[in-house]
Amino acid sequence: MMLTGNSTAAWAARLADVDYVAAYPITPQSEIVETLAKWSSEGKLRAKFVNFESEHSMITAAGAASLTGARAFTATSSQGLLYAMEALYTVAGWRAPMMLVNVSRGVGMPMILQVEHGDVMAARDSGFIQLHAETCQEVLDFILLGYRVGEDSRVLLPTIVNMDGFVLSFAREPVELPDKSDVESFLPRFKHPKPLLGLEDETLAYAPTMTEGASYTYFKYQIHLAAQEAKHVFRGAVERFEEIFGRHHDVIEGYMLDDAEIAIVSSNSYSSIIRSAVKALRRNGYRVGMLRLKMIRPFPREEVAEALKHVGAVAVFEQNLAPGRGGALYPEVVEALYHASPRPDAILSFIGGLGGSPIGYSEAEYMVRVCEKAMKTGIAPQGPTILCRREDWQRIRAALKMAGIPVEQLSEAIHHV
């Protein structure tokens, strides 16, 4: 069946037989909750569908629903995710295994509707498990896997499944929708170990606990340990997933890494572009491969180290930019490799595809050539290296000129190789 990323997310919620949908619209996510609203009104979705006045209350309500033992689903994007940021930490601390689909979009200002991962990266320390999808099929698979892992009593944490706005959310491609009965056997009804809705003759009270240092440390650290455990639970879940649905998943994906001299680290939908560029680079004589991060939280550091320790250089390609730092994932990859033996001679940071900027063969080849130069000279450029096409830079100069900026006084664009 041909489905967009957004309609696939809606289908995953329907197939997971969610009990509760908390909704608030935002481009490019709205199609998800619109589809669920339609099914709800037609009786095709059994769930209680509730519209909220903001993302903050939406996430809180979904978390609360989850604590009653309901399977809760919600979706947002960009500014909406940031508006809900406090609530993300709250529901993770509640240990509420709800599902949040984030459709990545840059965070203004400057205003943008297209993809950038600054939104989902801002949520990386909230306690949510994060699975990042490359394809529409993965959107479906990761939602099912996310529920299974999050609802496991060893984990009991909420999950974000991330997909790229426009490039994946609005793109249709073939998706295999599983049988409802198969989904039921993979994802049995959620039973919260201590639900807010207790037994009929039992009175329950639930309140946020005011802690002090030691007890705060204890509870906070339990969230960390549960998040780490999620990786092992995920490993078990993907085995069962493959038995039932026939598709293989792991926390990372290696592509042509076996004899690679240079590896490009990537995530999300642009990995499709990087993969085809790697194939073309191979034909042009470059020994290059790709490592794709499917799980971002917990960060699969051992798997990353094992996959990359033999390559000469690593290019970490990211679609986010933390001002004053660079790419958010770069230090995580460096840390994963620091104690590896052997380890790459150079690990470089590249930023591109911001705001949905297209990338292609040229960007991939540029990253590889900058890596080659760093290996040869032993000098790495002060990162991050931003990837911009000359014609785009010329367009920007023309626009600046139109806005009354004396462009002749601007310095020229530079390049490393």
Binding site: R172, S269, L410, A413
Partner: protein
């Protein structure tokens, strides 16, 4: 087969749906397919594009198609306004909705022309060309047989929630377009793609205010030629015009100006064709040209 197609049209013509018709038809014909639309925060009449990738193997590209094998143009006036042929590869095909052959001045590309708008106006009563463009693209590029194309049109029109008779009319439009357009032989070379290079540069630091996303110069919104959005043009008949100034007052975009004799003049570079002037003109001195 590995085929990247870019479709161009205006908001309201059905370019997103045309892309979906091609994607679904290719999928039904047994190919891997991917289709995605692209549009900004604009409106009816604005430039909309859609991308379709078709392959024997799983599709490996995403997002904008910079170097398409084929381009479809649903409104040939976009040729002057939106550079729809940009990046079209040598040996590629352009499919144009036009009454006759359009001189493009590029000898290395082939052209298939069909007056889809006239057929759509005849069958549907308006310039909704999605089924026609989708069918024409499928036939011109040999993507799918007639049955798959008709099934794809049916599926996509049902998805839009159209009434039964409108679905039937769209199928009729698709059938006529499919029958009328020839199949061309693509001569693009897959290996060409490895030769396509964009130079990568790093953006230098610029001092404020050049580095701030706030427009600090006044009066430059006229540089945005919103006249490109227009699909219906108001034309003043000066024999009937009484110089009453009502059109001048009502134009929401200040596109009507008065000269010293109070005669109104329409600025077609910016008129979006909302036709409020046409509706309000007391002596009915404004006509509409489509």
């Amino acid at each position: 087969m590995k085929l990247n197609i870019r479709l161009h049209g205006r908001g309201g013509q059905g370019i997103k749906t045309a892309g979906r018709v091609v994607g679904t038809a290719a999928f039904l014909a047994g190919y891997y397919a991917q289709d995605s639309p692209m549009y900004g925060p604009e409106r009816r009449g604005a430039h909309v594009s859609s991308f379709v990738r078709i392959s024997d193997e799983p599709v490996d590209g995403r997002g904008y198609i910079a170097a398409p094998d084929a381009v479809a143009i649903a409104d040939h006036s976009l040729l002057e306004q939106a550079s729809p042929l940009q990046g079209l590869r040598s040996g590629g095909v352009v499919i144009i909705n036009a009454a006759k052959h359009v001189e493009l001045g590029i000898p290395t590309i082939q052209q298939a022309v069909l007056d889809i708008s006239t057929l759509a106006n005849k069958i549907l009563g308006r310039d909704a060309v999605s089924a026609g463009v989708g069918a024409a693209v499928c036939k011109a590029l040999g993507i799918a047989g007639r049955a798959d194309v008709i099934e794809a049109v049916k599926m996509e029109m049902e998805e839009l929630g159209l009434r039964e008779e409108l679905i039937e009319a769209n199928i009729k439009l698709a059938e006529e377009c499919y029958a009328a357009i020839p199949t061309l032989q693509l001569k693009t070379n897959e290996e060409d793609m490895l030769m396509e290079r964009d130079e990568i540069v790093e953006i230098p630091a610029t001092p404020a205010p050049a580095s701030v996303a706030l427009i600090s110069a006044a009066g430059n919104s006229t540089a945005r030629k919103t006249g490109a959005w227009r699909d219906a043009t108001p034309v003043i008949n000066y024999q009937k015009c009484t110089r009453c100034m009502v059109c001048y007052i009502y134009c929401p975009d200040s596109c009507i100006s008065l000269d010293e004799t109070l005669t109104p003049h329409i600025d077609y570079e910016h008129c979006k064709g909302c036709l409020i002037c046409f509706m309000e003109c007391p002596p009915r001195a404004i006509q509409v040209e489509v």
